[in-house]
């Protein structure tokens, strides 16, 4: 009993310490991080309660105020239907964020599970799963998403499915590598020798220790998924929704670039800002969670 406890403390749980005890220190706050968090909070606010933040209904058209440059009444100008661009950006955040987060959740869970099972069980299962993932990997993510989205037809959920499918291989590979690396460590061998079940070892030692890179990758991946989602609707594979998302705004506004730059500049900036913010947070998370970088981050 004592022996097992010691083993746990000495070999297993110790590696969990960084993110338990490595609390936020004043020094790791920086302007960029705060700005990123604020931006994400604002976009989240836009997605949750757009009607509070948008000055006009996003579908309100007016043939009297077509393509007006930014002004006090319309801070981001108006588009070629006479709609307020700021309101469109605010309302458009919902779909963009939803696609980004949902597809990473689905892709991360599915990919993580595949990777974990492959890595931990090994043998034939590993071979089968990994060959399947290899096949998926040979197709570029955007192309795969494009193919799936066109095959399934236009809808928000199909778009999420299309984007998440492309993220599965990355997660699966990462998780498998982590699992393989951990399952042969001496403390795992030791746990096994004292009679812990395979599942018990996995649940208590392997899974917690392999999760942190996955979390970092998922955070960084959200940015990529938002871009892929926007790219898909930019290419016109998406649904022609009543309230367009950012990719659609960008796509529809681009032919007006020479006469009304604001129509696609502001949605473009919104995409850039959100992706940048998510990546800054992802970077910071990586510093926090990666045991090998513990020294650097502190």
């Amino acid at each position: 009993m004592r022996e097992r406890l010691n083993l746990n403390i000495m070999l297993g749980k110790r590696e969990l310490r960084p993110y338990r005890t490595g609390g936020l220190r004043p020094r790791s706050y920086n302007v960029l991080l705060i700005a990123a968090a604020a931006a994400i909070a604002w976009f989240a606010g836009c997605a949750i309660a757009p009607d509070w933040l948008a000055p006009y209904p996003p579908t309100e058209m007016s043939s009297d105020s077509l393509m007006q440059p930014p002004s006090w009444a319309h801070p981001f100008g108006t588009d070629y239907f006479g709609r307020d661009v700021l309101s469109l950006v605010v309302y458009g955040s919902r779909d963009s964020l939803f696609i980004g987060v949902a597809s990473i959740l689905i892709g991360g869970l599915a990919g993580g599970a595949i990777g974990a099972i492959s890595g931990y069980i090994g043998g034939l299962t590993d071979a089968v799963f990994m060959r399947a993932v290899d096949v998926l990997m040979t197709i570029p993510g955007v192309l795969l998403a494009l193919a799936v989205a066109s095959a399934l037809g236009p809808s928000l959920f199909n778009m999420v499915a299309a984007v998440s499918l492309g993220t599965i291989p990355g997660f699966a590979r990462l998780m498998r590598g982590q699992t393989l690396g951990i399952k042969n460590r001496p403390y795992i061998v030791a746990s096994r020798s004292v009679g812990v079940t395979r599942f018990g070892i996995y649940w208590k030692h392997v899974l917690p220790n392999s999760l942190s890179p996955l979390v970092v990758m998922a955070t960084l991946g959200i940015g990529g998924s938002i871009l892929t989602g926007s790219g898909l609707s930019f290419l016109g594979v998406g649904v022609l929704k009543e309230i367009p998302d950012w990719g659609e705004l960008l796509s529809q506004g681009r032919s007006y670039l020479t006469v009304a730059w604001w129509i696609c500049t502001f949605p473009g900036l919104a995409i850039a800002l959100l992706v940048l913010s998510v990546n800054v947070i992802g970077d910071w998370l990586r510093d926090r969670l990666d045991p090998r970088r513990r020294g650097e981050a502190n």
Partner: protein, 559 residues
Amino acid sequence: MVKLPKTFKTAALILLLVLPVALSACSANNGVAQEGGSSGAAAAADPSPGASSAEASETGGELSYALVSSPDSLDPHRSGLSVSSRVIRTMFDNLVVQLPDHTIQPWLATEWTESEDGLSYIFKLRQDVKFHDGTPFNAEAVKYNFDRVIDPNTKGVSALALLSPYESSEVIDEYTIKLTLSKPSRAFLGNLSAAQLSIVSPTAAAQSGDRFGQHPVGTGPFKFVKWEDNSEIKVERNPDYNWAPALVDNKGSAYLDGIVFKIVPEDATRIGSVQSGQALAAESVPPQNVAALKSDPKFKLLQANTIGLPYTLFINQNREPWNELQARQALQYGIDAGTIVKTLYQGTYEQAWSALTPGMFGYDASLENSIKPDADKADSLLERLGWIKGPDGIRQKDGKRLTLRYVVTSPNREKRNDIAVIVQQQLKKIGIEVEVVVTKDIRTEIFVNDNYDVFGNSDVSGDPSWLSVYYHTAPKGAIGNMSHVSAPELDRWLEQGAVEKDDGRRAELYRNVQQYIRDNAVMVPIYVFPYTVATSRSVENLKFDPLGFPLFNDVRLTK
């Protein structure tokens, strides 16, 4: 430590992620499906400024001309797209030519006579014409062409429709041919001037078979050089050319050494290529760029209004509740085409009022302004049918929501998809929920599955008998009658109009047709498409035929 470089890395990563998306987007619109036999333009008058001032111009040079989309085939008998016709026109000639005043003049045929019963035509042909491959042009060649059009293996759609009711032809002597029709047709002679009924080289057509569309050989002022898929089509001057039609001044070979048609689907890129000098001309100028180009002395803006069928929203009568007249009338009152045209085209396109465009024979001008958008009327019509507004503002009846499936195509040509976005808002006001569906596969969605309540289309034609394709009772699955209207009186007028010899009586028949279509809310007309071309100042004498297809015979480039 190292905080800053990491941020830079992040920024660089974003750039890398954004770039491919942006780049691939630029090329993604290439090579997508186009709706069959639609759009186009027609010039009632030659819009190019004065056909004189040739002293500063020189012979030679290559004209680069940017097109919106890629032709599907350069085989005149197989393609129905107007973009194909623009290129086909440079390489092929017809038996006859139609002038802006609707008269028919000689081209490859020198003279012709129509039999008393209207069932046969005898054409005398020019004797000095040779195809690009050296094959002589004669009565045999003409017979081969028309028999090729009606050969089921050719699978021509537009050409076949234009040539009907052609039955057979008989070679009388080397330069005389007799065409026999199964029934009289007023449109037949005019149709022979259509690009789809151009005369192709029999030798080349027999040799290339199905691949003739990639290796076209005709008698036109330019010869085919090469076609790089989704990139460009190149033609060069035919030095032997000496048989140009009455539409152009230069009857001999063209002044240009050649033309390069570049395929540039992106509006901003296409117009930008003229502004930056990469191309000398670009078609289909978006309305938002028109004003700037007009005021810039370095460029010319040529515009020609179309004749044919305007861009029309067909209402599918096979589907409920649109089989009921009052429901369709609600759409007629609910859709405000005036606002659509004003918003999207900023005065560069005209609003359409009828099933025909102004300038067309038989056009009924009394329909103009005859229906005003009226949301209250639309509301009461729908209420009378039992559609009552629910809590979310959408009407319901027996637990069913009043939705309308509006199918649009990709890419967004002439802002047609933006029309859908506006209609969606306009119909929401009268309690109809519009679902806008974007598809690239129109054939399946519209003609096979019949899965739409509203679908828009336009067509180019020189004769009102073309209305039969869209409004005559049609068998199930036929391409054309998209509203599925089927009315005995409509059929009768259309059939009579096709053969009626008295012009006054004929015009009246077509007025009846147009009024029936308005009164029965068969469709909602939206806009008349002007064919616009932006050119550099140096391009002179670019002309258009009555259907709006560019003519390059007279074009000169000044230095």
